[in-house]
């Protein structure tokens, strides 16, 4: 890759293209593309977006737990019939997931893209950034996505379908999902920002949704990918990550023990990329296959993005040097640095 084009730039272009397609694509493709291709995109692409071209798999799963499996269990019906729609949804999810694996998070997801854009804005505003979260904090945060997946995507909707919870808990994740607010706002629709006073459940869920959205925006200015770390889609990907054709592969060398540049580059703070000396497939549960670790690995072919057995992108000293230089240049330019330079200029001139 030459000039200003590097893997990160290429990824940003793909992300922006995917964002435009999934948030506004319905205007071109027709509203109901999701009926034809998939109702289960392995990324947060919201059905509440009236102009969207597809929708995230968590929506049908919650509905199927509520209206199919839950109701079937409650009525003592045929369990196989109750679970079949979910199996079909998971099947469609897997077809897409096998193709790109967790790269759906790092390359496609509109909410991931939005957080990265905020991060760029934060960087350009000169806000002091957290290069990485502490190891203890990362470890404490990691289980949250599993709880959200199990409770909000599966358990609550299932219990709602069984008549044990009120109807407003039939799609609890959607009710707090920041992507619902983001993607609708992106189309000029502010109707998803609200405080719903209908009952205690709606008050709590709407409060959580709005608070989480504001929190995510502020955090994303200084912390890399704050919501991704607790996203149930990441957990769902993690379950199936071994079957994806795209993967992150490590050919460990003794030097891996020392530099840790890969871990520092990782937006999800996966230190195991650096410390794990045994595994070859290092597509860890939080990995989004963004490829930054490969970019910032200074050793030849130590880290690789591979599609089945074929290397798609490999680390190399030459690429690393160029990439590091580009990164330094990129980080130099920000608003605070510009103001400092401007205010320092007259002094320099007078001396």
């Amino acid at each position: 890759m030459s000039g200003v084009i590097n893997l990160s730039v290429l990824r940003k272009l793909v992300q922006i293209g995917a964002f435009v397609f999934f948030v506004y694509g319905g205007l071109v493709t027709g509203y109901y593309l999701e009926d034809k291709i998939s109702r289960s995109l392995p990324a947060l692409s919201c059905a509440y977006d009236h102009q969207g071209a597809d929708l995230c798999t968590l929506i049908p799963i919650q509905h199927q737990m509520d209206h199919r499996l839950g109701e079937t269990i409650a009525s003592g019906g045929n369990l196989m019939m109750g679970i079949m729609p979910t199996l079909i949804t998971l099947g469609t999810f897997l077809i897409l997931f096998v193709l790109l694996n967790k790269a759906f998070c790092g390359w496609i997801c509109p909410l991931g893209t939005f957080q990265e854009i905020l991060q760029i804005i934060g960087q350009k505003l000169g806000l002091r950034r957290h290069e990485s979260l502490s190891e203890g904090m990362v470890k404490r945060i990691r289980p949250v996505k599993w709880f959200i997946l199990l409770l909000l995507v599966f358990a609550f909707p299932l219990l709602t379908g069984m008549g044990m919870l009120n109807h407003d808990l039939g799609d609890p994740f959607c009710r707090i999902c920041p992507s619902r607010i983001l993607t609708t706002l992106a189309t000029g629709d502010s109707s998803q920002i609200y405080l719903d006073t209908a009952n205690a459940t709606t008050i709590v869920t709407s409060l959580l949704a709005d608070f989480l959205f504001g929190l995510m925006i502020a955090l994303a200015l200084t912390v890399r990918q704050p919501f991704c770390r607790i996203c149930p889609m990441l957990a769902m990907h993690a379950v199936f990550r071994k079957i994806g054709l795209l993967r992150l592969v490590k050919n460990a060398t003794p030097r891996c023990d020392r530099c840790a540049l890969c871990a520092k580059a990782c937006p999800m703070d996966i230190r195991e990329i650096h410390t794990d000396m045994e595994s070859r497939n290092v597509t860890f549960e939080d990995c989004t296959l963004c490829g930054r670790c490969v970019e910032f690995c200074p050793d030849q072919d130590v880290l690789q993005l591979k599609y089945t057995r074929f290397p798609v992108f490999s680390s190399s000293p030459q690429y690393f040097k160029k990439r590091k230089k580009q990164q330094t240049q990129w980080e130099k330019g920000n608003l605070i640095a510009w103001f400092r330079k401007r205010s320092a200029a007259p002094e320099t001139g007078s001396s």
Binding site: Y31, L133, H167, G214
Partner: protein, 262 residues
């Protein structure tokens, strides 16, 4: 003299209010304003429907004649999900009347876009939702929705179109050159209580008339609408909470940064 065939399809629960001529009733009516997830049979009450030709249009554009029995037609299970169109027509020679209603039915995936059903000419003069509300969307009061008027498949501009609701509102508008018209659905449910969710369903119809020589065509699109959630959802308070979340995020960021510095 003919008896006017059509007025509106409305949920049966509202029959006593409107006394309208058409009513649709799910066998297992859901309390929530959501699609009927059962995909079972559904009855459509049709007043003055004697001698009317009633057709069910399925998402794959196949059709099935429906029979009026005791003033109602029963929508059979069609084995496919997505929007279906129920069309009733009466032809007196010099005057042809048509009423259409789009009903979402659950079932195995139809693998068809409802845009196909909307685009298909189903009767000479028809009003088509433009677009049909997609999943998670329904007609709600205060919302603006578009409709397309077509005669023999071609859009007709300059036609007067009337929207009437079961709560007594009446609006009129004229189609533009591309045959489109937009209406903001009236917020006219009586007795709303601020802050309380209201799940009532009303009905509105959109109708128009077209003359071709001595032959008159009248058409009507009938559908239901719901109370605007604005009455129990506050965007202003929502924005306030977003702001609080933003401030909290800023504070957490600073605290963490300070912690890192130690």
């Amino acid at each position: 003299m003919y008896r006017r065939l059509l007025a509106v399809f409305i949920p049966a629960s509202l029959l006593s209010i409107s006394g309208a001529a058409f009513a649709a009733q799910a066998e297992n009516p859901a309390p929530e304003p959501s699609h009927n997830h059962r995909g079972g049979e559904k009855r459509i009450i049709l007043e003055n429907g004697e001698d009317a030709a009633i057709t069910l249009w399925k998402p794959d554009l196949s059709t099935e004649p429906l029979t009026l029995e005791h003033g109602a037609v029963t929508l059979p299970k069609t084995g496919m999900d997505n929007y279906h169109a129920i069309l009733a027509e009466k032809d007196w020679g010099d005057h042809k009347e048509a009423v259409i209603r789009y009903e979402y039915r659950h079932g195995p995936p139809s693998k068809q876009s409802p845009a196909r059903l909307a685009a298909q000419q189903k009767t000479e003069f028809e009003i088509v939702p433009d677009p049909i509300p997609r999943e998670h969307y329904r007609y709600h009061a205060r919302q603006e929705w578009g409709f397309l008027l077509r005669f023999q498949g071609q859009p007709v501009g300059g036609l007067q179109v009337v929207l009437q609701t079961s709560n007594g509102s009446r609006l009129s508008a004229t189609t533009d050159a591309s045959g489109r018209v937009k209406f903001r659905i009236p917020d006219d449910f009586p007795g709303l209580v601020k802050g309380e969710r209201d799940r009532r369903v009303g009905d509105f119809s959109i109708s128009s008339e077209y003359l071709q020589g001595n032959r008159r065509f009248t058409t009507q699109l009938s559908t239901d609408y719901r109370v605007s959630p604005v009455h129990w959802q506050s965007t202003r308070l929502g924005l306030l909470v977003v702001g609080i979340g933003f401030i909290a995020g800023g504070i957490i960021g600073r605290v963490n940064k300070a912690g890192e510095g130690k």
